[in-house]
């Protein structure tokens, strides 16, 4: 049996994966070989295959093929492919010399069964209904009693000044046209230079790649979603962040005053106090350190970052998130952006450890 490796250059090909700094979406790779190992690790599952090239040399390739939790939902199990199975993988190769690829499809060679196909489809929307409320009528951000659920994707979740129109960027926040940088946010000159540097280098220095926490609005951009735990008796809301390292954030709703910026210990998630105004939770946050990117795409910030977030739930399935960014050391004026998240009914956010996402 002759196994082959074909490398096809496809200029302009798009890739939906959120790994632009790792994978080269301008190329495509087709691999055939026997499976030697499967690493079923959240957030990224890998299988390894021995691939023989045209000269007969065998090399072991690592093939990333998705999030195990989403794969399980699509009926993939650890038994779907066995050691020794021959598979055909089509996907996107890694940048540089690494023998690694991001699969778009995996086909079982003997049966022709398609084992995996990447999809950008969002979770199905549950039947719409009014947003749940507490007995006193206040809106709930979490599930009704006896239910469970969390907030995840539901459309584009990129942060840019809402006065700007038609800014096209991918799920990672990479601009389709760098000339749009001026409209993304009213950046000072230094901030724009840093932002453009990050964009031009395909976000390769993103701290999240080193598993740093997704502070600020970015916690609501993470693919694994968020969950609100409303502890009214304690006067606080916990935000469980599916995309961090089992991170959480505390929003105090007990009426306490916000701390003075100079006295607050600087952290990734800041110091947050919230209050309800009718059906909107308004959260004021300061005290951020400078060790993270507060949104995908690499918009910079300083310790002066002050966020005002607004959470509302117009119906059971929709969470509206708006945030006003005020950082006079980075931006020339305050600006506002936002997006919606979608309710994933009947499920909790899943276990996720960023450190396990490295190539095994």
């Amino acid at each position: 049996m002759r196994w082959t490796l074909a490398l096809v250059i496809l200029l302009g090909a798009a890739v939906s994966a959120q790994r632009s700094s790792v994978y080269d979406s301008e190329r495509q790779v087709r691999l055939e070989g026997a499976v030697t190992r499967v690493e079923w690790v959240n957030p990224r599952a890998f299988l390894f295959i021995d691939v023989r090239d045209a000269s007969g040399v065998v090399a072991n390739w690592a093939v990333e093929f998705g999030n195990p939790i989403e794969l399980e939902r699509n009926k993939w199990t650890r038994q779907s492919v066995r050691i020794g199975d021959l598979v055909t993988v089509e996907g996107v190769p890694a940048r540089g010399p690494a023998r690694q690829a991001l699969a778009r499809s995996i086909v079982h060679k003997a049966t022709g069964k398609r084992l995996f196909e990447s999809s950008t489809a969002r979770p199905a929307v549950a039947r719409t209904a009014p947003a749940p409320r507490w007995p006193d009528g206040q809106l709930r951000l979490g599930p009704s009693p006896g239910q469970k659920g969390y907030w995840a994707g539901g459309g584009a979740r990129n942060l840019f000044d809402s006065t700007a129109k038609d800014i096209r960027m991918n799920d990672e926040g990479l601009l389709q046209n760098l000339a749009d940088a001026d409209r993304v946010a009213p950046m000072q000159a230094w901030a724009k230079a840093i932002y453009l540097h990050r964009q031009r280098t395909l976000l390769k220095d993103d701290p999240i790649g080193a598993c740093m926490p997704p502070g600020g609005p970015r916690q609501f951009q993470m693919p694994n979603g968020v969950q609100f735990i409303e502890q009214r008796e304690l006067g606080r809301v916990l935000v469980l962040i599916g995309g961090g390292n089992r991170n959480w954030r505390v929003i105090y709703t007990d009426g306490r005053a916000q701390g003075q910026a100079a006295e607050v210990v600087l952290t990734y998630y800041g110091s947050s106090v919230g209050r309800w105004e009718k059906d909107t939770l308004i959260v004021d946050s300061i005290g951020y350190n400078e060790r993270f990117w507060f949104t995908n795409g690499g918009l910079p910030h300083t310790e002066a970052l002050h966020l005002t977030e607004r959470f509302s739930r117009p119906d059971l399935n929709t969470l509206r998130y708006d945030v006003t960014v005020d950082d006079p050391r980075t931006y020339t004026r305050p600006w506002t952006g936002g997006w919606t998240l979608q309710w994933v009914a009947g499920e909790d956010i899943e276990e996720y450890f960023c450190e396990e996402g490295k190539t095994p």
């Binding site: 230094w190 400078e290 300083t302």
Partner: protein, 130 residues
């Protein structure tokens, strides 16, 4: 033994924290390095810079003999930095001017490398962000 292990872990954690990137204004922070007229004659230097949204302020060798930096300018089109400082001398203040290039801006330990001039004296310097 256990205590020593805990101290070691603490030290590793502290070092890891120090190694974390600083993603704000590229000049903000404490920088250290050396300057001199040539390779054979070097003097240690510490420089602390801060950005308030409009200007970058700085201090050379903070402490009893510190020298305030009177002007710092960053040109983001080519990542060059210019400094002016007035050091004390027996005959009065002496203007020191320096110009350097900011490199490796994505790193917490980015560098500024360049040249300085003090009257007729001149030389080079290198600073690395701590």
């Amino acid at each position: 033994m256990r205590k020593a292990g805990a101290c070691l872990i603490g030290a590793i954690v502290a070092l890891a924290a120090l190694a974390a990137a600083q993603e704000g204004h590229p000049l903000t922070g404490t920088w250290s390095g050396d300057w001199g007229p040539g390779a054979a004659q070097r003097t240690h230097i510490t420089m602390v810079m801060a950005w308030d949204g409009k200007t970058v302020s700085g201090t050379i060798n903070p402490g009893p003999d510190q020298v305030p930096v009177s002007a710092i300018a960053l040109d983001v089109t080519n990542w060059t930095v210019r400094f002016d400082a007035d050091a004390k001398s027996a005959s009065g203040p002496v203007r020191i001017s320096a110009e350097g290039r900011l490199d490796d801006i994505a790193s917490a330990h980015r560098t500024i490398t360049g040249t300085w001039r003090q009257g007729t004296a001149k030389g080079d310097f290198k600073l690395t962000r701590d």
